[in-house]
Symmetry: C2
Amino acid sequence: MALIVQKFGGTSVADADRIRNVARIITETYRRGHSLVVVLSAQGDTTDDLIAKAAEINPKASKREMDMLLSTGEQISCSLCAMAIEAMGYPVVSLTGWQAGFKTNSVYSCARIKSVRTERIMAELDKKKIVIITGFQGINKYGDVTTLGRGGSDTSAVALAASLNADLCQIYTDVDGVYTADPRCVKGARKLQEITYDEMLELATLGAQVLHNRSVEMAKRYNVNLEVLSSFSGQPGTKVKEVAKNMEKPYVSGVAKDKHIARLALIGLPDKPGTAFRLFSTLARHKINVDIILQSIGRGETKDISFTVDLDDMERAQELLGEMQSTLGFDHIDVTDDIAKVSIVGAGMIDNPGVAALMFEALYNAGINIHMISTSEIKVSVLVDKCDADTSVQVIHDRFYEEFGNI
Amino acid sequence: MALIVQKFGGTSVADADRIRNVARIITETYRRGHSLVVVLSAQGDTTDDLIAKAAEINPKASKREMDMLLSTGEQISCSLCAMAIEAMGYPVVSLTGWQAGFKTNSVYSCARIKSVRTERIMAELDKKKIVIITGFQGINKYGDVTTLGRGGSDTSAVALAASLNADLCQIYTDVDGVYTADPRCVKGARKLQEITYDEMLELATLGAQVLHNRSVEMAKRYNVNLEVLSSFSGQPGTKVKEVAKNMEKPYVSGVAKDKHIARLALIGLPDKPGTAFRLFSTLARHKINVDIILQSIGRGETKDISFTVDLDDMERAQELLGEMQSTLGFDHIDVTDDIAKVSIVGAGMIDNPGVAALMFEALYNAGINIHMISTSEIKVSVLVDKCDADTSVQVIHDRFYEEFGNI
């Protein structure tokens, strides 16, 4: 009999019927004799509703109070789910982040988990209880409530699975696995049975939005067996593990897009050492994550540096750069959010340099202009106009299917 | 400079505007140099909404999970209020029941406070912070969330005032003090400047609904200076203390009614010892509070016993009595909820036996029939038909005013 961690997202617990559905999945697993710890997100739009309430009162509320507010969302979904399981006649207990032993650092609104003290959970499991735990939250050393930020509940689930040495961590969501491309947009997109942590990491970062990269990173570090599956379909999902078994894997396991980005370009920087350092250390100090960076080869005395950031950080990045204009000595800034990132990911890519060329060919044939290119060992990303993003994914997906008969 | 505890009820924090109003009252007190601890209830209908959500999923949910669910209401109002105070530029921190050190017993849904460990609160006060605390809740020895039941937030506030040795505990509500009768129903009702704990206790028990009796009992035991006042009017309220100063107090300080009751009568009980004991100990064991008890003088071999209970307990009491019919040997049960209790309360009553007669006279003149009478040292209660309740309060109030020129 195994110890299993199951995590259900906000859409899976959005209303009473869906909570009952989740309770059915949980109790079926329990009836098969497994020990079961369940992590839940807040119901549907609860978090957004709470954020709106706060914004009405104080748009610049402290993050400490925001965390105090937002952490109630999971407490509500967990107690309701426990009630649904009670109604089915199974032993159950719900626990908040602090009750479940989640200790975090003190960076409110995007805290990092430091440890999970599992005594209480173990005691409840020993009593044969199903344990329902609030995702997304913990407490810091002051005993104050913290939240983990985006993708926090996935991270909670993986941290639990690692701390409890669980046999499996199942992430239930509204899609039934990891696809070679977004099945809602791309014809021919196919569900993967297996994928490696690294590929999943690239896909998560690239906007596939199935699993948050923090949770995948943690799963890789602690070798947690992950499975992504749907709470609605009842079908097997995609397994995420260190080495995928399939020896005849195609080179590319997925095509992803991310429209929620902006590109900033500093034009006419003096071509001297230290510029990039000063620029990016300032952005880092202000917690602005930079993704693709492209520096032009110097033209005489000057060079250009372009980079992409999350769309939410665009304005702040622009402000910061404005303040640095005299220090850095650039001519002007060019900013656009009419941009999207399209990427291919695959562990097999590293041995097949032709893969990138195939991607560029597909885009060329479709008349799509590439603005920037960035590559890593297992991915190739390009920036295209936002209006070209969906077509780009489709034509790349088609091209690889045509070439390899599979993707 | 004083240490003040302020408590605001659900209507006082029902929406963003009202929260801002409460934040203004709090910060004005703080600006006058006082140390300030604030207890809040959940916003408006939040608790009812959460109860409805639970009922949809499991109408017989465990009380432990209900407490887990309901305790989120105060956490939301407290964090929002803290944000409003932040927006005004004052230092503030919100704390949950467990963070504020509220330890309770384990009777979920109506837990009793065992102690308040005030270290965290004191530390925040030392940092000159306004401390906002969730009313109505604490944790038990297992670290599980408990709620205090009806009137819980008032009790939280008084317990805090007692534990912190506060100079004053101000209960802000939607009425601006304790009245000689409900000012929404009774013409001529007048606000009392002062009232004793005992009078307040009788009034609370009798359905005046300004303060819950648990909180008044605790205030009396720990000699906490209470003040009841409105969060809307800005006027001075009513002070509740051991001995009211006013030497020329009228005999009666208030007239109250309670329509939320039922009367049960056991007809034809054998007139032998032990009947009342067996009857009421059984009800007590099932946590049914009995209020007025009236036993008829034995007629030959049999007697009748009538008593009142809270309307919510009527059906359960009837069931229990049905099961005891053969043991107790009564003939039949007569049950009605078409009944109301009307009472006068006053510490001066004990020395003035004519007071009760004056009340009966007022009712007689209005043609209102009295079904049962019960008296204590500082109150006289009568049962009347539910439809006569409002008129009863008015005519009694009028009669005392006429007699004493004051009430």
